[in-house]
């Protein structure tokens, strides 16, 4: 319609213009009407139509014409003879011819009243009207009425659909779409997507199961801790998991004969002790302070043994001997190893976070302030209790309140003892703390069995729902 410029007209006009079958077009129009694109109305046209009798009269002549023709040949004819000559129209012929003043009946005989040519002209006026009717035209009113009353014509009604386009067809074209299930690259490239609409889905139906590739939830927890400490101004450092006893114990003021250093608690590495020669001066200071404080013979061979570090405080100890320039804040996160059998609450290795901070004038209350801030940033309330560790004084043990309301004993902290600072050569107060990450992570995630953190069940990790 748009291309052929159709804006309004009848169905017939549209049919010929568009070259489409009328009946299909009619139903299409009704559809378009429903969509508000077209207005469709119906027109009724009245037309005359010849009856069978009229058609016969047009072909053979009217009965009165036939009567005039007969009388022109014979002068006069007896009434009784007429049906034999004119058939069943005889009486009609006589009646009409008399009414029109063409003939008269006298003494049972019919004769012309006027000359034949004139009578024929008058009689044929109606036939001319019938001709017009056969062409669908209305003749003069009195003739049409006469033909109708004589049953020669009848009136018919012709119905026709009238169509008018009411919307911009360009716009309609943009909207009108065929339904498809998928959009393809080919559709996009050809632009054919314009013809389509997308089939509706049951958007509430269950999809197939897909699992995300993701970070391990414990690693995510550790990353969160790293960010908290960085935000607070801490510098991150790392150390080795295989460590000298010197840093794991001796520098932390743990006497070599102390039960905590016994074989029951830590894991030692099989093989030869390491070489301490690179720590010459440090070793001398450690020996002197241990012997002075703990009253025993300090043995460098013990300090040279390799242990799987039992605390990340070993990394802090290594940082201390670099004598970091104050003010300083340093933290480390790494694995530590203990001589524990695997069960729901123990692992032979786990992660620890250790932090140190200090400057000349640093106080124990400031240490508590830092710790309170750390755990507040993790959304945890914290509680302090006096404690004992060989390398700190004052020492404090920290509890955090879990979302469940339970208090979890989590961290140890304190100011490094003067002996530790003296061994390391640090001349300002240093606060230190350490805590195990797995226990806190498990408690925060609502995991009862700590072994779950090291599961080999990949789907468990992929499906893991964090309860934070």
């Amino acid at each position: 319609m748009k291309e052929r410029g159709f804006t309004s007209g009848s169905l017939s006009q549209a049919s010929s213009l568009l070259g489409l079958d009328r009946s299909r077009l009619a139903s299409t129009f009704m559809l378009l009407k429903e969509k508000g694109i077209l207005e469709v109305s119906e027109s009724v046209t009245k037309r005359p139509r010849l009856t069978e009798r009229g058609k016969e009269a047009l072909a053979r002549g009217l009965p009165e014409e036939m009567l005039v023709e007969l009388l022109g040949e014979k002068g006069e004819v007896g009434l009784a003879e007429l049906p034999a000559i004119l058939g069943r129209e005889a009486s009609v012929a006589v009646g009409q011819a008399r009414r029109k003043g063409l003939v008269a009946v006298e003494g049972g005989r019919v004769k012309l009243l006027i000359p034949k040519e004139e009578a024929m002209r008058r009689a044929s006026v109606l036939r001319k009207a019938l001709e017009e009717c056969s062409e669908g035209k209305f003749p003069a009113k009195e003739l049409y009425e006469e033909a109708k009353s004589r049953g020669l014509v009848e009136e018919t009604e012709e119905r026709e659909l009238l169509v008018r386009v009411t919307r911009d067809l360009e716009e309609v074209m943009r909207e009108a779409r065929v339904e498809v299930s998928r959009l393809t690259s080919a559709m996009l490239r050809s632009g054919s997507w314009r013809q389509y609409v997308f089939r509706s889905y049951d958007v509430t139906a269950e999809p197939p199961l897909v699992l995300p590739a993701r970070a391990h939830f414990l690693a995510e927890f550790i990353e969160q801790l790293r960010d908290v400490f960085k935000e607070m101004g801490f510098r991150e450092v790392r150390g080795s998991v295989v460590e000298l006893e010197l840093f794991n114990f001796d520098l932390l003021f743990q006497a070599q004969d102390h039960p905590a250093r016994e074989i029951h608690d830590s894991l030692w590495v099989k093989g030869e002790p390491a070489d301490l020669s690179e720590y010459g001066e440090l070793v001398e200071r450690v020996a002197e302070i241990h012997e002075r404080s703990w009253k025993y013979k300090w043995d460098p061979k013990v300090a040279a043994r390799l242990v799987l570090r039992s605390q990340t405080t070993a990394v802090s100890a290594r940082m201390l001997i670099t004598r970091p320039k104050p003010p300083m804040r340093i933290f480390t996160i790494g694995r530590v190893y203990r001589r524990d059998a695997v069960d729901a609450t123990h692992l032979p290795e786990f992660h620890q976070l250790d932090g140190i901070e200090g400057y000349p004038g640093y106080t124990f209350r400031e240490l508590l302030g830092t710790l309170k801030d750390v755990f507040e940033r993790l959304g945890l309330e914290v509680k302090f209790k006096p404690a004992y560790f060989p390398f700190t004084e004052p020492s404090v043990e920290g509890y955090v309140k879990l979302p469940s309301g339970r208090w979890l004993e989590l961290f140890g902290a304190g100011l490094f003892r003067p002996e530790v600072l003296e061994m390391a050569g640090v001349d300002y107060p240093v606060g230190a703390w350490g805590f195990g990450i797995e226990r806190l992570a498990a408690a925060t995630y609502g995991i009862a069995d700590i072994r779950v953190l090291y599961t080999s069940d990949v789907d468990f990790i992929r499906k893991f729902r964090a309860r934070r």
């Binding site: 102390h258 006096p386 069940d457 990949v458």
Partner: protein, 539 residues
């Protein structure tokens, strides 16, 4: 942390407090209490052995209630003398008499034994460094006591026995002998303490029955043998100062010209700032000395300073900071008030290079469809044996479980084991891990590694190669690869990864024999990178 059991009536009588108040007061002294089967169990920090018996615990509690200072006990000469001969394995002995201990109940006797055992554990280093003998003074055969080393064939009447036995039998045939018999033995000789020709103790193993203490014992002789004279003397001071709290007095014992117990107070002269500054509080001088007196120190102000006399039983006090801790404990940690160290918040924080690289790698690998797993770095020797990696293993000297007795030399080893346990997981299984490894290369080396693996119905070299290349490019590593060989991966399908010409890792398809040795029924392709080294190369 040592846990000690007390009868509630003892503590109530000694402190005048009900159990609930007692519990609260003890908490302020770093002690946690629990009630169990007619006992109060008190967790006491290892640095306060002076509180390992009711009298000592009560002395600290009464300080918080307002009792101040400490009064040295009255002493007299006991007439006892210990002759010390050369005992090479355990050279030192000290001793003292306490009159009027008056063991009046089984409950007190049990506490005494517990006190002795806990001192053995801590200060005595499980008797290796020092051991204690308790004797009923009235049963001592002689006032002249000899500490010497004697033949293990000598006989004595072991504690709790009716029959005399050779020292050797006790050392070799009893539980105590098995535990402590090797500490001071020297071939066929062992230290003994004798009086009047009778062995009264075989330290550090067992006493003789003849001087046994029991309910009814009034006065006691205590000996401490040790490898350090100072330790021996300190332990003796702790014992004497607690036993004498029962209302008695001390009898001196002469040993090599010195009279024991020493009961010497440590004198410390401190400025107020030295004990308040580290805590971060300010108090008047008088308040400071009152607090210290309530923590049972004797304190006198000397001008602007404090003269603090530390009771001999306080083995944990060496420096002003130790006094500072006692002040903080007296005030209560919660009441001190945490304070933000404002100066430290001006510092700019930073992440470690390697940790930052690990974080970037993690995020990229997740983007490449890999899920992170975490496995212990301790594993079983059998796994490394099966993978042909045993030569590299760093072994633990004293493992608890053989399954966790070696460190993994690479992550792929424990990853293959994890995959074998995850064979039911939705395929393809694409995993990675970042973590520590350690191996022997002459000396012990430990590094942070990354491993990644793909397990599926079918897996090829390309499946691991493509994401690995993608990863390396994304972290800006200019890398190359060359054909290589490994005990884990198929020949011709194994490559070494080099960055700046240095090997940083490998990739390949795992050998079917390796897969079946760890019980894997799906093909696996792996890659491993030394992140520690890679991080240093990327700088």
């Amino acid at each position: 942390m040592p846990v000690l059991r007390f009868r509630p009536w003892r503590l109530e009588a000694l402190t005048g407090l009900g159990l609930a108040e007692l519990r609260e007061t003890l908490f302020r002294l770093k002690c946690e209490t629990e009630e169990a089967e007619g006992f109060v169990e008190v967790e006491i920090n290892a640095d306060r052995p002076d509180m390992f018996i009711g009298e000592g615990l009560a002395r600290a509690v009464r300080g918080l209630l307002g009792e101040e200072g400490w009064r040295a006990p009255e002493t007299e000469r006991s007439g006892l003398r210990i002759i010390v001969e050369e005992v090479p394995t355990r050279p030192y002995i000290v001793g003292a008499v306490i009159y009027g201990v008056n063991i009046d109940s089984e409950d007190y006797l049990a506490e005494l034994i517990q006190f002795q055992e806990k001192l053995h554990e801590g200060l005595g280093r499980r008797r290796k460094k020092a051991a204690i003998g308790f004797h009923d003074l009235s049963k001592l055969p002689s006032k002249e006591i000899r500490y010497t080393i004697a033949s293990v064939e000598r006989e004595f009447l072991p504690l709790g026995e009716r029959r005399r036995a050779r020292v050797r039998e006790v050392l070799e045939g009893t539980e105590k002998g098995a535990l402590y018999g090797g500490i001071a033995r020297l071939g066929d000789m062992h230290p003994i303490i004798e009086a009047g020709g009778e062995i009264i103790a075989v330290p550090p193993v067992l006493n003789s029955d003849i001087t046994k203490i029991e309910v009814g014992t009034r006065d006691m002789f205590v000996d401490v043998t040790a490898t350090s004279l100072e330790t021996a003397s300190v332990i003796l001071d702790i014992i004497v100062s607690n036993l004498v709290e029962r209302g008695g007095h001390v009898g001196k014992v002469e040993i090599s010209g010195v009279e024991y117990p020493l009961l010497e107070e440590k004198i410390m002269r401190v400025r107020k700032e030295e004990v308040l500054g580290p805590i971060g509080i300010e108090l008047p001088l008088e308040e400071t000395s009152k607090i210290l007196r309530r923590m049972r120190y004797n304190v006198e102000p000397v001008g602007e300073e404090l003269l603090v006399r530390v009771p001999p039983f306080r083995v944990d006090v060496f420096k002003p900071i130790d006094l500072a801790e006692d002040i903080a404990i007296y005030i209560g940690y919660e009441d001190l008030g945490p304070e933000r160290p404002v100066r430290l918040y001006a510092l700019r924080g930073s992440h470690d290079r390697l940790s930052s690289l690990a974080r970037r790698v993690r995020s990229l690998l997740i983007g490449l469809g890999f899920t992170e797993i975490m496995q212990l770095s301790l594993t079983s020797p059998a796994l490394l044996e099966a993978l042909g990696l045993k030569e590299l293993a760093v072994e633990v000297l004293n493992p608890v479980q053989v399954e966790y007795s070696v460190l993994r030399p690479n992550i792929v080893s424990t990853m293959l084991k994890a995959l074998s346990e995850a064979s039911h997981a939705a395929k393809p299984v694409k995993v990675f891990e970042i973590g520590p490894v350690a191996y022997r290369a002459g000396k012990v080396v430990d590094e942070e590694h990354l491993a990644m693996a793909i397990m599926d119905e079918e897996v090829s070299y390309e499946h691991i190669q493509a994401p690995l290349y993608s990863l390396l490019k994304a972290i800006g590593a200019e890398f190359s690869v060359r054909s290589s060989a490994s005990s884990l991966t198929i020949n011709g399908r194994t490559a070494e990864v080099l960055v700046k010409g240095m090997p940083v890792g490998f990739l390949g398809e795992v050998k079917p024999e390796v897969l079946s040795s760890v019980g894997l029924e799906y093909p696996v392709a792996v890659a491993e990178l030394n992140l520690s080294f890679l991080s240093s190369l990327l700088s």
